[in-house]
Subunit: 554 residues, 2 copies
């Protein structure tokens, strides 16, 4: 029995106040014994390359692995056991009763320990994320590392809150006619069953850890179905939890891995399996919509795509606003579900020095992005690499469509550490608001649009309508008029996108803080995995009861 | 602004402890000024008959009404405005912003007031329920009246808990490099939109009131779609809430009524309307399954049918157990979703006087039902009337199928107050466990099965498998062996049915107490409307946020 109660209580307080807090230091240099831990972790990663991954699973039928490092554009050469889905479900079901019978505190503390053990392997997870997702070192450490761990704790806090709202026992007495009926009632929390957690290629852990922990905390088993291009971070996760569960006397088959390949996907097989009770899905809008419409009787939590919008109506410091936008539109080559894509501009932008014409603002944005990405070392830190080769094709397609309206062209840049890295600087094109075919959906990767609008109100209307109709996760607003800001807050709330207003400075505009920032809302097509609200956890278990006359001991 | 805080706080305590409590006296004679209130309410009901119902709705295209009193087998003659669904959705959407903007406390206290106003009209609702659902006076008062009001309050308590778990504001400060970023964050609870509440013919208010209040408390609008055979209780409900909303300056179109007819049902039109965001459904398993599979993108809360099981393995007082079973199997002619239907019997039943052979037990049960229903006055109180004429056909069909194995035949009984009442005493047939075509689904109405099993363990296995596979809401166990009871508790929990053990005496076995007993679990096909857990409320609203740098006022 692990004792992480002090940390857990602090996390409960943070979830209530939604202030800034984390038990994990946010900088690699603050990691305990960073100087030895970092090279040791990196060496462990290197030792995994070109070999079968050490993972024991039920029903293994073969070994597969097709990961290619975006930095090296060479296969990692790691193979993973491919297990028969039927065997995974059977093993998970067999594992459930013991886990469901464990008390809430035992489960929560074991899962807190699991997060600590992932933290202990963070310097192995960092290169694993880099060489699958293509993230920078810092993003792999912070975003896919400590921030994702925090989201896991946050899921545990909410799971605890939902479970504790059901008393385990009650005494109930009422008169019926001449009889006084006294009943002892027992309430049980019954996990829904086997959860399937689909993880994406570019940011697996951040969605996976809270989803997995929400399911596990409420007593379910989890089959992890990683994107074939980004397996290693999830394989390490599964390994850590399986080892921990076995060590603590639980069945390790509560957490398993289901490998598939791009050529032979197994997603629909898993979702349509009669024992699939919960689906957590992060991935494409197309498959995500299929999941949402077909998961029943399983419940589904989804995050698909973000058509993320920026309304730039005015700014106290236009250059600072443009710099912040340029940085965030470049960050990880805009391969985050929260990356801004569409910048809606009125004919002129309101500043303390008077209105600035749209074309000047658009040029400033293009210049700011160009400046950020000119120096390869700086570009490497911000842009990192491009996860999927298809993204380069998409850039070319948008470039072709937008001919004559390219504000800033995309090009490969030379990564200072990885000469073979797949890279692309952002493409920025200017379009009319009628060009919805081009901009009114997520164009995943370093692709941005400047959209000419009739006025600030029109820009706000277009942006929030696109978010509402096409699934916006985040929205960004720069404006000087407080009345306009108030209207924008209401419009973005109705559209279901999380809004950041007038932010400049060193914080990435799309930074989502665990314990504080909510994620997708369920109000538009971007999905419903709010990470973490009560709605994200409360239906992962059911309440059953038994009642019987109170037995008197006399 | 209404002040029902003291009652609400008491309800919160009851939901936490799940002890017995209600703000509403449970007996008609304890109603304030019952002697004048009762005849006044009854007169108001009589005055409604044969007339258009006074309800103003948007988009009215005609007047319809096809209710027939099960007691008089004559039309009520009440017509209701039939509104165009498109107009109802449009009006509901237009009404949403003002309601969503009201603070939580304002909404909760207004809805508490609404329940009090329904209570004020209880003696009109009682005959309305009797002459649509066919319930007895006492059941209409208690089950469809005060108990349903309590379930409404319970929904408000849980809605409040889910909403309060999100702080409205936060201050968040973190260092990014050299910058200290200070953000003010505002969190908004955004209702999902327009809810459609389908109510059933036999027990409308008990599911409708908590569903409606869960949606309204979280800021949504509600279109009530009553079963065409049981409109009046819901029309009164809609009238009460519309009047109250308008009186308090809110748009009455937050609560509307959508009439349809048996010949021209509108259910699918409502569910497939693009603005349908929430579905609460009580009704048939067949349409319920369609709802669950097709409601997306709306979320669905369902209660369909109950294949409710009894395992009678042993009893300290066999006659008392059999009497309790006979009463509950007869109550409201078994037209409750919680009515026991299938009695699984081992070859002999364990009693302090030794084993009692199955056929003796089966005969005792038939005799006990016969005894209860012999005296018409007693029969009327227990059996009441049969809601739907089709139920008589179903009784005939089962009788035909079971020929030679009828333990107790069904017959009409003469209702002492209503000579034309549609009545039927219970049909009890004995079947083998292989006769699943006959008993392994809900046979709605006064139809019971005694099922021959190989042993007590076999009886438990059959019963819980039938509950799991065919949607059990309730389960009932009589047994003397504590080890067997423990196994049965676990098996029923896995099957997802709420279990009552060894209960005898004056309390109906299937009585479900507000603030204390949970309803369907979502673990089997009977639905997921737990009435009320956090899962029943938490996804009825979304959380959106806006954040901006803290403005210093200096």
């Amino acid at each position: 029995m692990f004792d992480h109660h002090a940390t857990f209580q602090r996390a409960q307080a943070a979830c209530a106040s939604r202030e800034c807090w984390s038990p994990y230091p946010e900088m690699p240099r603050l990691y305990p014994d960073a100087e030895t831990a970092a090279p040791r972790g990196e060496a462990a990663f290197q030792a995994m390359l070109g070999k079968p991954f050490a993972l024991d699973l039920p029903g293994v039928t073969g070994w597969v692995g097709e990961e290619v490092s975006p930095y090296r554009q060479a296969p990692l050469g790691i193979t993973y056991p491919q297990a028969d889905p039927q065997a995974l479900f059977a093993a998970a079901k067999a594992a459930l009763p013991g886990w469901a019978a464990a008390d809430i505190d035992t489960r929560l503390m074991l899962l807190m320990e699991g997060l600590d053990r992932l933290y202990a392997r963070l310097f192995t997870l960092v290169p694993a994320v880099m060489h699958t997702a293509g993230q920078s070192y810092n993003m792999a450490y912070a975003g896919s590392g400590v921030n994702a761990l925090d989201r896991g704790i946050e899921a545990l806090v909410h799971a605890e809150q939902a479970m504790r709202s059901v008393t385990p026992r009650a005494e109930w007495t009422r008169r019926f006619g001449r009889d006084e009926i006294r009943l002892d009632k027992t309430y049980r929390l019954i996990p829904r069953g086997v959860a399937v957690c689909f993880t994406c290629a570019s940011f697996a852990t951040w969605n996976a850890w809270p989803s997995m922990l929400a399911s596990l905390a409420t007593g379910n088993a989890v089959i992890v179905k990683p994107h074939p291009a980004s397996v290693l971070p999830m394989a390490i996760t599964v390994q850590v939890f399986r080892d921990l569960l076995a060590e603590q006397g639980f069945d390790p088959n509560l957490v398993t891995l289901c490998m598939d390949t791009v050529a032979d996907p197994l997603g629909k097989v898993l979702i349509k399996h009669p024992d699939c009770a919960i689906v957590d899905f992060t991935g494409s809008a197309r498959f995500g919509q299929w999941v949402e419409a077909n998961a029943h009787p399983a419940i589904a939590f989804t995050e698909t795509s973000g058509c993320n919008t920026v309304v730039l109506a005015g700014a106290e410091d236009l250059d600072a606003a443009v710099r912040a936008l340029a940085t965030t539109m470049s960050l990880f080559s805009a391969q985050m579900c929260t990356s801004p894509q569409n910048v809606y501009l009125p004919p002129s932008v309101d500043t303390p020095d008077g209105p600035v014409p749209r074309d000047v603002v658009a040029a400033k944005l293009a210049d700011a992005i160009a400046a950020l990405t000119q120096d390869p070392r700086k570009a490497a830190m911000i842009l990192a690499s491009v996860q999927a080769p298809q993204t380069l094709g998409l850039i070319q397609w948008v470039r072709d469509q937008a001919k004559g309206r390219v504000l800033l062209d995309s090009r490969a840049y030379d990564h200072p550490d990885f000469p073979n890295a797949r890279t692309a600087t952002p493409l920025l094109v200017q379009v009319g608001k009628e060009d919805r075919d081009l901009y009114a959906e997520e164009r995943f990767g370093p692709i941005g649009f400047v959209i000419d609008c009739d006025s600030s109100e029109d820009a706000l209307h277009q942006a929030t309508e696109d978010a509402r109709l096409n699934g916006g996760i985040t929205g960004f607003l720069y404006a000087r008029d407080e009345g306009f800001i108030t209207r924008a807050e209401a419009a973005y709330a109705r559209a279901g996108a999380q809004l950041t207003i007038n932010l400049t400075g060193a914080m990435p505009l799309n930074f989502a803080a665990a314990y504080s920032d909510y994620h997708v809302t369920g109000l538009n097509g971007a999905g419903n995995a709010t990470l973490t609200s009560l709605a994200f956890v409360a239906s992962r278990f059911a309440v059953t009861q038994s009642r019987r006359p109170t037995r008197t001991h006399d």
